[in-house]
Subunit: 395 residues, 2 copies
């Protein structure tokens, strides 16, 4: 089932533009979304209300015809690229080919993503193609609402993610504290210190077996965990909260999962236990708040209400807070791990098909960090949690 | 040791421009190269002959000050970003901040990479900053010549790569042919069919243990191997050439390795054996040809000479050839897995510090494919092979 592109059609009609042009490789999510094609080198896609057309190198032509969602696939050679390149150089030749191809498609003016490449845009403008970057990025709004098959892709990645979380939790459960009387004891596993790096490798190996990959993952203990953007490093310690945040991507579909758990090996202190309970409560309050028509801002407010009710600072109660709840409640997830909608103070209306995270957390360098995160899809009458993993502090 | 930026200084002087501006995240190789910083979100770097300055969010400020190679680190908040964003929106606010920051640095006009983002460029132009995309990309030429520490990074990744190749070869060596009398026998390992996917997982797991990752790898057998861009899939077969091409990236340094071997489990037929010997000969001829001042084109010609002397078609002897030697001899390797210089018909002079692959190969769907690839650095008086892995067809 194709996405609903009516918002893009409206944008083009309002702006008086013929099409929406993308020049990027398949790692660019808007390119992959519009073209349905994941070539490793940049290629060109133009969407019009009538059809989607792509222009690729001869090398990608066969695969583009079978794999892409384009109605029309052309190749550079159809427009004498090689001859033009030997006369004018490769970049000018590409611009001339794209201009001729757009002309054949009846496209004289285009909207583009705000980060469309400048050189190709300047060269098209010189050939009298109107090129207008779309700063508000209407396609990211369309991408935010997932079709049933996109939701299945995200669910599949989240299943792999749960396997990785299980592997990480198992390593922690098997760990023990070295009985060396150290003043700063660390966890051990198989006779050596259990480090953040060791747990991350276990996570990544597990994801790999399930056809997923990741660029980064967070396994952060102690003061590391108190910084929401610290990825964590070095030995893990008993009795301290360990944040495990995994956001993998399917190598096949390109869709992400996202989940966080916080674990303590041994005995959490009272503050950490209290933080965990409050965060679980805030997490539940966010879920209770989600339904179509409610704003991301209202879901965020539900989390702030719980924390502030317990006397914990939030960025809502104190915009300069450096401890407490110091980030947003969540974000959309899809081909990008961070995309629309926002579940934050400026979050707009949630609508069916929006896939979002809910991830309240508390941070203080003197305590550490606690965060709980699930992934859900907004449905016609509420939500469906796409995550199947228990929530508990002690391993 | 910093790279030699004199070619960029000359380019700016010739073009009458004050600096070179990059707006990209740390995954962009030119951004990482100029800034020495690998932030996950886009940030802005300006190089001038006097200094390199970067502009980051508050979130990245501390890390940018310690990790980047910039002489000067500023943050958006230094230019009232939050107030501007609430009045004008985030993108316009960023443009105003960048324009004010450039003004403080005395920069009125900039060259940019050809694929600099269009929206930010248009907004800077509106604020009277001259923005000229550099189509010929002088920085990629600078990036091609590696400093001693960059060569060490590449060598380290190639060491990890050799470990992965050993793991792949070991799987093949341990494989056996199912004695089921099938007309189309496949390799087995631990009781199940040994597939391309299984070998790739072994490769990726091994790389992971060595701190490296990859997006793709090639383990291609039979007709798959006859297409140089096919990544391979499904069961591997005895007596057929299996191409294993691995191009990992260090997660720490960002620098790549690259190596290919071709293996046969069982008995290669006469054509495959002959192809392997010719390819090894072409490979040696390419190495013999490399020294500073020789062009990439001449190295490519040395390979074509060997193949054509043996009566094998090349793209040089027949530009429409679909079998034989149907790609270039090699490419530069660094932060990008494909970068300058070219070792191809249009390859320019090789110079000390250029890190290149040499990877001749032969392809025919009725035979399969054979390719041998090592990675080398051009030195003051010749070259140093950065690869330590034996070359042999039978496992």
């Amino acid at each position: 089932m194709d996405p609903d592109f009516s918002a893009l059609d409206d944008h083009l009609a309002d702006a008086g533009l013929d099409g929406y042009l993308v020049d990027a490789d398949g790692a660019n999510s808007t390119q992959r979304y519009l073209s349905g094609f994941a070539a490793p080198d940049p290629f060109t896609t133009v969407y019009t209300p009538d059809a989607t057309a792509i222009l690729v190198s001869g090398l990608e032509f066969g695969r583009a015809k079978t794999d892409s969602r384009a109605d029309d696939v052309s190749r550079l050679a159809d427009y004498d690229y090689r001859e033009l390149a030997s006369e004018h150089g490769t970049e000018e030749a590409k611009a001339r080919v794209v201009a001729a191809w757009l002309d054949d498609l009846g496209v004289d003016s285009v909207a583009t993503p705000d980060r469309f490449p400048l050189g190709p845009a300047d060269r098209l403008r010189k050939r009298d193609v109107g090129v207008t970057p779309d700063t508000d990025d209407v396609v990211t709004g369309i991408r935010a609402r997932k079709t049933p098959s996109e939701i299945d892709h995200i669910r599949d990645t989240q299943r792999a993610n749960e396997g990785a979380m299980r592997a990480a939790e198992a390593l922690l459960r098997e760990a023990d504290v070295a009985a060396d009387g150290s003043a700063d004891p660390v966890l051990h596993h198989d006779g050596s210190a259990l480090t953040s790096e060791r747990v991350k490798t276990e996570i990544e190996s597990t994801l790999l077996e399930h056809g997923c990959g990741l660029d980064e993952t967070i396994v952060a203990c102690g003061a590391d965990a108190a910084d929401p953007h610290n990825r964590g490093s070095g030995p893990l310690r008993p009795d301290e909260p360990i944040i495990v945040d995994i956001f993998p991507r399917s190598k096949t579909t390109g869709y992400h999962g996202d989940m966080t758990r916080t674990f303590v090996v041994g005995d959490p202190n009272d503050t950490v236990s209290e933080w965990f309970d409050r965060t679980h409560e805030a997490f539940d309050a966010a879920f209770d708040a989600v339904e179509p028509g409610v704003t991301g801002a209202a879901v965020h407010d539900a989390v702030c209400d719980v924390y502030e009710g317990a006397g914990v600072p939030t960025l809502r109660s104190d915009p300069t807070a450096e401890t407490g709840f110091i980030h947003s409640t969540g974000h959309g997830v899809g081909l990008d791990v961070h995309e629309l909608p926002r579940v934050a103070p400026d979050g707009n209306e949630l609508r069916p098909g929006h896939v979002i995270t809910v991830e309240p957390g508390l941070y203080d360098p003197s305590v550490g960090g606690v965060r709980i995160e699930d992934l859900m899809v907004v449905t016609d009458d509420g939500y469906e949690n796409l995550t199947e993993y228990p929530i508990g502090l002690r391993v």
